[in-house]
């Protein structure tokens, strides 16, 4: 492969890679915002986050599929699926904090890493038992006809559901950031993150804030699951790689830096699809190679200022 043909492939494929990369990158960022929310308040995170995404996708298959078959409009079915996912995932978040995090959160304990990875494995097997091993198709409210754009010699295709993914995940992230910065509850969460004993002296129930952060984190993963189910097929192992990639996004963007997470999430998506122009089956390998290289170069992530006082 000579340089000219590489340039040619890039020119042909780059616009599509950027569009697709933004779509899937926004999902990584959305899941990683969940890591940010719990890590800032508790210095822990849920390694089953990707499998929470999977459970949400499965639930949306059951609810959306079931309701759609019984003749309910797809929009109504989607709203029902979102409602079910929000409630179930919030409860799952509360449960994982109670069972897998809180008992193991000693000062020097890394037990919570093992316990949340354990939760991930349990969820995967449970999903196989409940929903089987098949890849299940979840209908999209927007249909399956791609939107095609002709830019001279280059063509871009995007599914309406993918436009929805990008818009909804960006919207959800903006809403969460706005909530964290502007609402009193968000300020209380930030206070707990900064200095939990002092926050308690203000009358803030630190434990409630921790539980809330786990519920919020899980709902974000759940939302990601509902969004991607129609384009990825729902199956028991669909959450593993997105969960891992979102973790990488959190590490490189900074687990305390929501904007960094957003930027790195979108960038990771684009990198993946650019790699896929040349070799789709090496996509994940090359992506992780790049992540390792970045970590070797900047072990604390790209935007670490090391200036944050932690008391």
């Amino acid at each position: 492969m000579d340089l000219a043909s590489i340039a040619e492939m890039l020119a042909q494929g780059l616009p599509q890679a950027i569009v697709s990369g933004l779509v899937y990158g926004s999902i990584y960022a959305l899941v990683a915002q969940g890591y940010y929310v719990t890590f800032s308040t508790t210095d822990t995170l849920n390694f089953a986050q990707g499998d929470f995404l999977m459970i949400a996708a499965m639930l949306s298959f059951t609810v959306l599929g079931g309701l759609a078959l019984s003749g309910v409009s797809l929009w109504l079915a989607l709203l029902a699926a979102i409602a079910v996912v929000v409630v179930v995932l919030a409860l799952m978040g509360i449960a994982v904090e109670r069972i897998a995090i809180r008992p193991l959160r000693g000062i020097f304990s890394f037990g919570w890493i093992l316990s949340t990875v354990g939760v991930a494995v349990i969820l995967r097997q449970m999903a196989e038992i409940i929903w089987g091993r098949e890849h299940m198709r979840v209908p999209s409210v927007f249909g399956d006809v791609p939107i095609r754009l002709n830019l001279g010699t280059v063509q871009i295709g995007i599914l309406p559901q993918e436009v929805f993914i990008l818009a909804a995940s960006l919207g959800a992230m903006i809403a969460v950031l706005f909530f964290l910065k502007k609402s009193r509850l968000g300020k209380a969460m930030a206070a707990v993150a900064f200095n939990a004993p002092a926050a308690a002296l203000m009358g803030i129930n630190v434990r409630h804030i921790v539980v809330l952060s786990y519920a919020l984190s899980s709902v974000l993963a759940g939302l990601a699951g509902v969004l991607v189910a129609p384009v990825l097929f729902a199956h028991a192992h669909m959450g593993t790689l997105p969960g891992l990639k979102a973790f990488a996004v959190g590490i490189i963007g900074g687990l305390g830096n929501p904007v960094g997470i957003l930027v790195v999430g979108l960038a990771l998506g684009i990198v993946e699809f650019v790699v896929a122009i040349f070799n789709a089956s090496l996509r994940d390998a090359v992506t992780f190679l790049i992540l390792i290289a970045i970590l070797a170069w900047r072990p604390m992530g790209l935007f670490d200022k090391s200036g944050r006082e932690k008391v």
Binding site: R184, A188, F194, A200, V206, R308, E309
Partner: protein, 267 residues
Amino acid sequence: MSAVDEYPTGKVPLLSVRNLVVEYGYVRALHGLSIDVHQGEVVCLIGSNGAGKSTTLRAISGMIPSAAGSVTFNGDDITGVPGHDIVKMGLAHVPEGRQVFGDQSVHDNLILGGITLSRDEGRARAEHELDRFPILRQRQHQRAGTLSGGEQQMLAISRGLMIRPRLLLLDEPSMGLAPRLVHQVGEIIIQLQKQGMTILLVEQMATLALAVSDRAYVIQNGEVRLSGRSEEIENNPEVVSAYLGGSSTSDTVQQHQKPAQSGKELQ
């Protein structure tokens, strides 16, 4: 036990700490400490580093658990009540080292101080606090972490006042401040008392503490060593030599140490 403090009029004290024991692991920090604070008083705890002054405040406000003894506040037994619930009963604790939320604005720090109030009440009182401390109004949109030490101390006190507490616990407000600012902290305490605030003050700087307080307890090795009116304590030879720049260290007092629960010889 006999340590019920008869000062000043035999009325029920606002805060009554009885035989408080606090342990950090195997180390016992408080050995049955008893103090009283009456409505409208400024009471100070003085003593050397590690005597248990801050530990006493932390145990009162529920930051740390106590192993034995009781804390009664405003008629309620608050021993073992979680700290975040004690705040709602009208007890504010301004902790050692100020502990402002450095990554949030001055105004947001005040709002957090009043987070147990309704939203409107919180906003209104934040305005009131910004009137009380004009320098904080100038800085209200700045991140609290960018304030000077003295300004942070004002913010910490102001944040504690947001709930209009019945009792204000102040832990080492002069710590790390320049002399001019130490004087200012003293002025603030005097002003607050004039407005009717009841204050329990912990201070390393004994001269300041005795100058602004009505009564004092000298704490040593987790026990009340001496107690009495501040001007009496100020003139007590043992205290003068140990804490007010007399001959030297707290060893002087230690030589005369008596069994626990003493500390009444000045009354």
